[in-house]
């Protein structure tokens, strides 16, 4: 923002009437006035808030975060108990927001790319079905879609009619429940082995590709990589005395499954709705991106002998991505912000737990402020990552 003092202009030629007759000075003057007005407005808002809070004897501050929350939370990624503090409860909410946003972004991207490509297939039936789905999904309010999926999931069998898939996976309208891993001392060795296996597999794949490019010889690199990822951790697991066990869910007297890991219908409904709604928008972005690549590129690839899928993957997509990434970023941001509709089905995300805190403690200003800070931070982080990725795939001009 420019806020140069107008009188700092060339002194020789300056007289006061130039402030509105000279276009340059007029520009500076008008910007200065706007800056001053904005600053005054901010000062007025801050002062007015403080005065009124004082008049009503209200305290403002984040001390309440140290008080016990005293509310139950259904889904939590970290240990949480109703005796924990508001700070921890809000952290649970933040992690839930991050969880559902991350799940949603991955699924929406997959759905969006698949649907976008399918809309451009020569097959009339596929094209039309996908186009109908996209138009329908894009144009129905997201809140309705969340409640729709939630209602669908609630019509699954009740606890008394729980479906069993194999021995240890249970499905009913309170969620899908399976065993969860329990890490005993020594389990870290297995996890490290897994990480080493993945890294080694990646290195082998990379090396094999370079070797093929140089010599034309192919190696069964896929099998070697799979072996590294599976066998290495397995060997360490048995060598260190099987330090990972499974917590099996058991039904209590109400038929409720306790223990293990449960994915609730609220989370799944929210995830489905966010993924399909945003996915429909992404599919249009992908379609536009692909159409932006000149048809001559496809024809050139064809004349080089590349097959259809190879053309898409190696020739079209890398060029289309440059058009796709910037609008894709704003869809990711939309998805993250839309996840706060979680409240409607009772999935306790950051906004949900914040409004519970606001209700119990009455600290409205602090909580609305922390909502803003958190969503702005999440958005800026996502943007930063996407900008980095965009720069990486940008056209390198020679």
């Amino acid at each position: 923002m420019v806020s140069t003092n107008p009188s700092a202009g060339p002194a020789a030629a300056f007289n006061i009437s130039r402030l509105w007759t000279d276009e340059r000075y007029r520009g500076i003057l008008s910007q200065a006035i706007i800056v001053i007005l904005v600053a005054l407005a901010l000062v007025w808002v801050a002062d007015n808030t403080r005065t009124n809070l004082d008049n009503r004897g209200l305290d403002i501050g984040f001390d309440f975060l140290a008080d016990p929350a005293g509310i139950g939370i259904g889904v939590s990624l970290i240990e949480y108990d109703s005796t924990d503090t508001w700070l921890r409860a809000m952290t649970v909410g933040l992690l839930n927001t991050v969880l559902v946003s991350a799940l949603g972004i991955v699924a929406a991207t997959a759905i969006g790319f698949a649907a976008g490509i399918m809309r451009l297939l020569p097959n009339w039936l596929v094209r039309t079905i996908v186009a109908t789905w996209v138009e329908f999904t894009r144009n129905v309010p997201l809140l309705l879609q969340i409640i729709f999926w939630w209602t669908v999931l609630l019509s699954l069998p009740t606890v008394r009619e729980t479906l069993r898939i194999g021995d240890s996976i249970f499905l009913n309208n309170s969620g899908i429940t399976g065993p969860s891993p329990v890490f005993e001392p020594g389990a870290s060795a297995v996890l490290i082995a897994l990480a080493v296996g993945v890294a080694a597999a990646w290195a082998v794949l990379n090396w094999a590709r370079k070797r093929q490019a140089a010599t034309g010889e192919r190696l069964p690199a896929g099998w070697i990589a799979l072996g590294l990822i599976v066998l290495l951790p397995l060997a360490v697991y048995f060598a260190s005395g099987q330090p990972i066990s499974w917590d099996m869910p058991t039904a209590n007297r109400f038929g409720r499954l306790r223990g293990g890991l449960t994915v609730t219908p609220e989370l799944v409904a929210l995830w489905f709705a966010l993924a399909t709604y945003t996915g429909a928008f992404i599919s249009e972005i992908v379609r536009a991106g692909i159409l932006s690549v000149s048809k001559g590129q496809t024809e050139a690839a064809g004349s080089l002998g590349l097959k259809g899928w190879q053309t898409t993957r190696l020739i079209i997509m890398p060029q289309a991505l440059r058009v796709i990434i910037p609008p894709l970023t704003s869809q990711f941001l939309n998805l993250t912000k839309n996840s706060s509709l979680a409240l409607a089905v009772g999935f306790q995300d950051f906004v949900g737990i914040g409004s519970q805190a606001q209700n119990q403690t009455g600290q409205a200003i602090e909580i609305v402020f922390s909502w803003m800070v958190v969503y702005v931070s999440l958005s800026l982080l996502t943007s930063a990552f996407m900008n980095w990725y965009n720069a990486r795939i940008a056209l390198v001009e020679r």
Partner: protein, 343 residues
């Protein structure tokens, strides 16, 4: 941007703007009400029996009746009320910011709301308590046997904290299934997403009455909390708080003294009972002390009747809610409803 955060921001904007511009530190609410010609009364967005729209499209109900009585006492006309519909979350910012003059929205009187949020509760017009409803097929007779159950609960109320406390005190565990609105919580309960649903006993009665298979459900005997519901005003304007308090007391005293909507006009001209005379203004100068017209209590009682008449009309046994007086009977009838004397 979501509905909820918009509400929150609107609430803050309310504190920032509305209050600041309109109301200086210690304005007399009574003068504002008189010059505006209406009482701004915060009520529920819709709760059967307590605040709902009648056949004529006007707001009516147990909580609304108090607004009307207050307007009648202050302005002489029960219709001079401007209703502001508020959710559980934005009711307090609305009162703090001066958007409303009085909140009559089944709000529980608690320490933190009275002391920390800067409000004055003027009395209790409904003694409620939190209970549980569950299917009879659970085979459970008492809420204390609910170890391991899934519990549907409406967020943004005192009930979620009571629930956590109850299970903690009884050393039993539960899974919370928090839902934002009463109707979605009911949907979840009916789909057996949860084993029991918990809210205030008056709400459970209203909910149960809407089930098709009501006889397959039971309300457990335990009442796990005290929920004294009543109207409240901003702290710092004692005159306005006194008016709000004594309008409520007048409705209760009227029942005790046999003053009804039908006979209040006649009794207001003078009786043999000095307390009735003092309350209705034919003796003494209580009206002047409050800063109101002489017939303030006559108008208040004429608006919707005395406490018993209001109770019977909106939530009593003959209404769909079918609530018994219980604790809300007069102290001399076995309840705990008790108005200080007009002396």
């Amino acid at each position: 941007m979501t509905i909820k955060s918009l509400t929150g921001i609107a609430a803050v904007a309310g504190i920032l703007a509305v209050a600041g511009m309109a109301i200086p530190a210690h304005a007399a609410t009574l003068d504002d009400v008189k010059s505006a010609g209406a009482v701004k009364c915060g009520i529920n967005t819709g709760l059967p029996g307590f605040a709902f729209t009648g056949d004529d499209g006007k707001w009516t109900g147990f909580d609304v009746a108090y607004c009307r009585a207050l307007a009648a006492a202050v302005l002489g006309d029960p219709d001079k009320v401007k209703y502001v519909n508020l959710t559980g979350a934005n009711r307090f910012p609305a009162l703090q910011s001066g958007e409303i003059d009085v909140l009559s929205r089944n709000t529980t009187w608690t320490f933190s709301r009275d002391v920390d949020l800067g409000f004055t509760f003027v009395g209790v017009n409904y003694y409620d308590g939190q209970g549980f409803i569950g299917r009879k097929s659970l085979g459970v007779k008492s809420a204390k046997e609910l170890d391991g159950a899934s519990v549907c609960i409406q967020t943004g109320t005192t009930t979620e904290k009571n629930l956590a406390d109850f299970f903690r005190v009884n050393k039993i565990s539960y899974e919370a299934v928090p839902i934002e609105t009463n109707s979605e919580a009911r949907t979840a309960y009916e789909a057996e997403r949860c084993d029991v649903y918990t809210t205030d006993a008056s709400g459970l009665a209203a909910t149960k009455s809407t089930f098709d298979d009501a006889d397959k459900h039971m309300v457990f005997p335990e009442i796990v909390s005290k929920e004294p519901l009543g109207p409240l005003v901003r702290q710092g304007d004692d005159q306005w708080a006194d008016i709000a308090r004594w309008v409520l007391n007048a409705l209760v005293s009227a029942e005790e003294l046999g003053v009804t909507q039908a006979n209040v006009e006649k009794l207001g001209k003078g009786t043999d009972n000095p307390e009735i005379n003092r309350m209705l203004g034919s003796e003494g100068s209580f009206a002047k002390m409050l800063g109101l017209e002489k017939n303030w209590a006559v108008n208040a009682i004429k608006a919707e009747g005395n406490y018993a008449e209001i109770f019977e009309k909106y939530v009593g046994p003959k209404t769909p809610l079918g609530l018994k007086r219980g604790l809300n009977a007069l102290y001399k009838d076995g309840g705990i409803l008790y108005s200080p004397p007009f002396r």
